[in-house]
């Protein structure tokens, strides 16, 4: 029989926090419900690489000892983080076997600290592609994270555990990272909402870098209000991350339900249409129709920007691991090792030129945003492929499956634009696919407003998978 806490757990974070603040349920009760759900389901999903039960119970007890009117907007909400976030007492795996031998983290990452300060309760660390270099979370060391809506299929990556844990109803909100699509791709394949904020918006201090030039952090959730609540609790400058903007907080919660009146929305064509399968294009059409987006715009440099992101990622990622690539290459993930090795060999000119193309593309897109507020594009070319899939057929072109899942996200993160990925159902018989709602830099509020409007209209939703 379902307990009140387990029913709350299957709902939203904002409702959990309201119920705990009202004294209708304890943080400890929610914590136990999350731990039980993880225990009952993770054998089939493999989202978690560590469950921090003792720490979570202690934190929940401490919360329950505080007065009910304490200013804790996320009071009692269980959450989990991709295992590249530092969690005090755990080695920061970043999906790698190599990192399991390193010392445990001495302190929590900045974002973990901020969420716990707002009353949330960390319950564990989540599986990912090794060093975030992948789009499927087929991790050879720690096993694949399976898609909760069809465990024979991939969850997407590299934050696959983060999306799967939310889709499986293990926790209502998780954190992940996105360098080339690693929040938006698993959001799309697991049917949850994901927010990749503007580059520099959220502090990355205390997380394992993949490509410092391109790394972003952000939340996954089953409702837009939950994304917004966690995002607002994480905002703020941080001198410990040199890329984190010295910018005042710009909370999105107050404007979330104000609708889309006055917003100019268009669909991205060109690259974003050519490289999308029929179901991805159908999902965009459905969202466009709901948002009244009839115009199509193109970014002529999108393909070159994707190439620039590829080169910067390849070279910078490889450079970070060069010593281990020299001395212990066989300890790397076989699915990405050869890519890392090749990345260590790229001519400097290619990479420096890629950084200049990136800036040129950012200027081109900035001009585009003078005429439009939001742009729509598919998040992935296809729905979740079966685990082990080697190639994808996209409109008759056969491409390698693992890198190609990020074809439509890479040009966008290359220039740090904020994106909310929203899940669309019904264009495939059983599986979801995501649409990117893309805004100009620092306008997360607009992307989230549109996502909230789509959710309210029933166009997008993120159900807990039947497991």
């Amino acid at each position: 029989m379902s307990s009140p806490a387990s029913l709350l757990l299957a709902g939203s974070a904002t409702e959990i926090a309201r119920a705990v603040r009202a004294g209708e349920c304890s943080a400890s009760g929610l914590c136990e419900a999350a731990l039980e759900r993880i225990e009952a389901t993770d054998g089939r999903i493999n989202a978690f690489t560590a469950v921090t039960a003792e720490r979570a119970r202690a934190r929940a007890r401490a919360l329950d000892a505080l007065p009910l009117d304490a200013a804790l907007p996320l009071r009692g909400v269980p959450f989990a983080v991709k295992n590249l976030f530092d969690v005090a007492g755990l080695p920061t795996l970043a999906g790698a076997k190599i990192e399991a031998d390193r010392s445990a983290a001495a302190a929590d990452a900045t974002l973990v600290r901020r969420l716990e300060a707002a009353g949330a309760v960390l319950v564990g660390a989540l599986n990912m592609d090794e060093y975030a270099y992948g789009f499927t979370t087929e991790n050879t060391h720690y096993g694949p994270t399976r898609n909760p809506h069809d465990p024979a299929r991939v969850s997407g990556g590299s934050s696959g555990g983060s999306a799967a844990a939310v889709a499986a109803g293990q926790v209502p909100v998780t954190l992940g990272s996105d360098t080339n699509g690693s929040i938006r791709v698993p959001s799309s394949l697991c049917g949850v909402f994901g927010l990749k904020p503007t580059f520099g918006r959220l502090s990355r201090a205390g997380t394992y870098p993949f490509v410092a030039s391109l790394d972003h952090l952000g939340p996954f959730a089953r409702s837009v209000a939950d994304l917004a609540a966690f995002y607002d609790a994480m905002q703020g400058a941080d001198a410990l991350d040199p890329a984190c903007a010295q910018r005042r907080d710009e909370p999105v919660g107050p404007t979330l339900a104000t609708g889309i009146g006055g917003l100019r929305v268009a669909t991205l064509g060109g690259w974003f249409e050519t490289m999308a399968g029929p179901q991805a294009r159908a999902a965009v059409r459905r969202v466009a129709e709901s948002l009244g987006a009839s115009a199509t715009v193109e970014w002529p440099l999108a393909r070159a920007a994707r190439a620039a992101a590829f080169l910067i990622t390849n070279a910078e990622g490889a450079s970070l691991h060069l010593e281990d690539l020299r001395t212990r290459p066989d300890d790397f993930e076989p699915l990405s090792r050869d890519r890392f090795l090749a990345g260590a060999l790229l001519p400097a000119h290619w990479v420096l030129r890629a950084q200049r193309v990136r800036q040129r593309f950012a200027r081109e897109v900035a001009e585009c945003f003078a005429h439009v507020d939001l742009l729509l594009a598919p998040a992935t070319p296809v729905v979740a492929p079966p685990i082990g899939t080697e190639t994808l057929d996209i409109n008759g072109v056969v491409l390698p499956a693992r890198p190609s899942l990020g074809l439509l996200t890479q040009p966008v993160s290359c220039i740090g634009l904020p994106v909310c990925a929203v899940p669309v159902w019904g264009v495939h018989e059983t599986l979801p696919i995501g649409v990117q709602i893309i805004a100009a830099p620092w306008r997360e509020d607009l992307a989230l407003r549109a996502a909230a409007a789509l959710e309210a209209a029933g166009v997008c939703h993120a159900p807990v998978a039947r497991l």
């Binding site: 030039s213 040199p242 890329a243 440099l301 393909r303 070159a304 190439a307 620039a308 590829f310 080169l311 390849n314 060069l322 690539l325 020299r326 290459p329 066989d330 090792r337 050869d338 890519r339 090795l341 090749a342 990345g343 260590a344 060999l345 790229l346 001519p347 290619w350 420096l352 030129r353 890629a354 950084q355 200049r356 193309v357 990136r358 800036q359 040129r360 950012a362 220039i415």
Partner: protein, 67 residues
Amino acid sequence: MTEEEIAAAVDANAALVRLPLADAHRAGVLRYFALAAEMAELVLAVPLGRDDESAAVFRPVAPPEAP
């Protein structure tokens, strides 16, 4: 780039950065270097001017405040 040019670049650069390549990894490295070369062609084809600066911008680091 031709297959021969790719193989030559991989061998020369691997020696330069002192990165030994095992036989078992070599075919994969050649494949991914060739893919990177394709990406480089797309990037190098974009005309850039003097004012197209790098997106990698240095941020000076202030000294810590005195206690």
